[in-house]
Symmetry: C3
Subunit: 175 residues, 3 copies
C-alpha cells in the first residue's frame, strides 16, 4: 500500500478492503486487530507511527474505547513521547549511555550460547537491555474516534537493533 | 469539587452528577471514561491518585474488568509503587542520576529547535528522557468493584517537569 | 496443582475445574481472570511464565482479544523479552548497575521510616527503584486462541527482591 505519510509502512495483509484486519462485532462492541509492518532505517530510530495507528482506529469505526499498540519484538519497543528531532537524539543518547552497544554482554558471545539462534544473529545484547527499560506496548484511550493523545504525545516504534522489518499489532476495542 | 483526600485533584468537568464521564453501557458491559486534572507541586513529585482512581471505578459500577490510567503528557508519568516517603525520594534520586536535569540536552537549545514550541517552553530534556524509562500508562485489574492492587501498591502521577496542571484519562471497562 | 513445565507455579484457588477463575460471559464476550501464585528462587530471577499464561488463555476459550499480565507487587515486575540464559544475566547485571543493591537508599533506614511496615521488611530500596524502570504489567494481543507473541518473545515474572511467593493476575478478554 502506498503511504504518502510514512514510506516505512505497509499493511501486512495488503488489500483494498483491509481484509487483513481481524474483526469481531458483538452487540455494538467492536474488537478490531491489524498487524502492521514497518521497515526501520537505523539503530535508535524513532519511527513516528501515530498516523498509521489513527488510521486503524478510523477503520475500526470505534468511537470510544482503547487502542493497544504492541511490538512483536524483543529489540524494538513502543514509545509515547514528543516528536522533536533533537529530543529524539537526546533519548537515544541516554539509552546508549545506560546500556551501550560497546559494552560487554554475555549474550553476544555466540560460542557460549545454547538454544535456538537466528542465522542472522548479531551482537545485540544492548538492544535487549534497552528494551527492558521501555517495554513492548502502550494502551491509549480512544475518544471521538481518535487516539486521545495529549498535545505533545506521538506514538513511536523505536528500533533498538539494526534496520529490519518490524511488526506492530494494533488492536482497537470499544463502541 | 472539594476533595478532602487530595487537594491537587479536581474533575475536569466538575458536576454533581459526574456528567463529565463518557459512558457506554452495552448489554451488561460498561465502558466508562473520565479525564481528571491534578495540579502538581514540584519536580519529581509522586502524587498518590489511588483514591481518585478507585472513586472512578466505584462510579462506573464495574465489578470485574480493568481500569486504565493514562497520562496525556510527555513529562508526567503513571507509576505503581509503594507510598513510603523516603522511598519516593530514593526513586526520584535514581531518575535524577540516570538523566540529570543538570545534563546537556539538545532539546534544551531553543535556538536550534524547529517545529512548534510552547511559549512557556523551558529546559526539560531530562524530564522527557526520564519519562521514556517509565511510560505513560498502567492497566490495573478490577475485582469486586475495586482496583485489584497488591498490599503495597499505590497509583501515582509522577511529575517529571515543573509544577503544572496535568490530566489523566481513567477508563474502566467490564461487567 | 502439579505442573511439569514450571514447578514454581500453582493456581491460587487450586481446583480441578479451575473454580478459581472469575468468569463473566456476556453475549459472546468473555472476561476471564485468574490469580496465579509463583514461588521465586532468587533475586533477579527471570521466571518464564509463558506457558502458564497461554494455559489461562486456553481455559478462557477466547480466540481473539487481549491477555493482561499484572504483578501485584512493587518489587516483582512483568517483562517481555527473550529467554536466553546469558541474556537474562546481562539484563540482571544492567539493573544491578543502574540501581545497585549495595547503594544507599533512605528506604532501607528502618529507624527513619514512618507508616506501616512488614515484620519481614528488609533492605530492598534497590528493588523498588528497578521496578520503577520496568513496570507492573504487560497487555498482549490474543489471536487464534493464543498470546500473539513474536518469535523471540517470552513472558517473565521478574523477581527483584528476595525469594518469595508472588501473585500475577492474568485476565483475558475477547470473543
Amino acid at each position: 500500500m502506498a503511504n504518502a505519510m510514512n514510506p516505512a509502512f505497509r499493511l501486512l495483509d495488503d488489500a483494498a478492503d483491509h481484509s487483513g484486519a481481524r474483526i469481531r462485532r458483538i452487540g455494538g462492541l467492536t474488537l478490531w486487530a491489524e498487524t502492521l509492518t514497518f521497515t526501520t532505517a537505523s539503530a535508535r530510530q524513532f519511527l513516528d507511527v501515530t498516523e498509521e495507528v489513527a488510521a486503524v482506529v478510523r477503520r475500526s469505526k470505534v468511537s470510544q474505547g482503547w487502542v493497544s499498540v504492541f511490538s512483536k519484538h524483543t529489540t524494538a519497543a513502543v514509545v509515547l513521547n514528543e516528536n522533536e528531532p533533537l529530543l529524539l537524539e537526546d533519548m537515544g543518547a541516554m539509552l546508549e549511555r545506560l546500556s551501550t552497544a560497546a559494552g560487554v554482554y554475555q549474550h553476544n558471545d555466540l560460542s557460549r550460547r545454547t538454544g535456538e539462534m537466528d542465522p542472522e544473529e548479531c551482537a545485540n545484547g544492548h538492544a535487549h537491555c534497552q528494551h527492558l527499560l521501555i517495554g513492548a506496548s502502550e494502551n491509549i484511550p480512544v475518544a471521538e474516534g481518535r487516539p486521545d493523545l495529549g498535545r505533545w504525545q506521538r506514538i513511536f516504534l523505536l528500533e533498538l537493533d539494526r534496520p529490519r522489518d518490524r511488526q506492530l499489532v494494533v488492536q482497537v476495542f470499544g463502541a
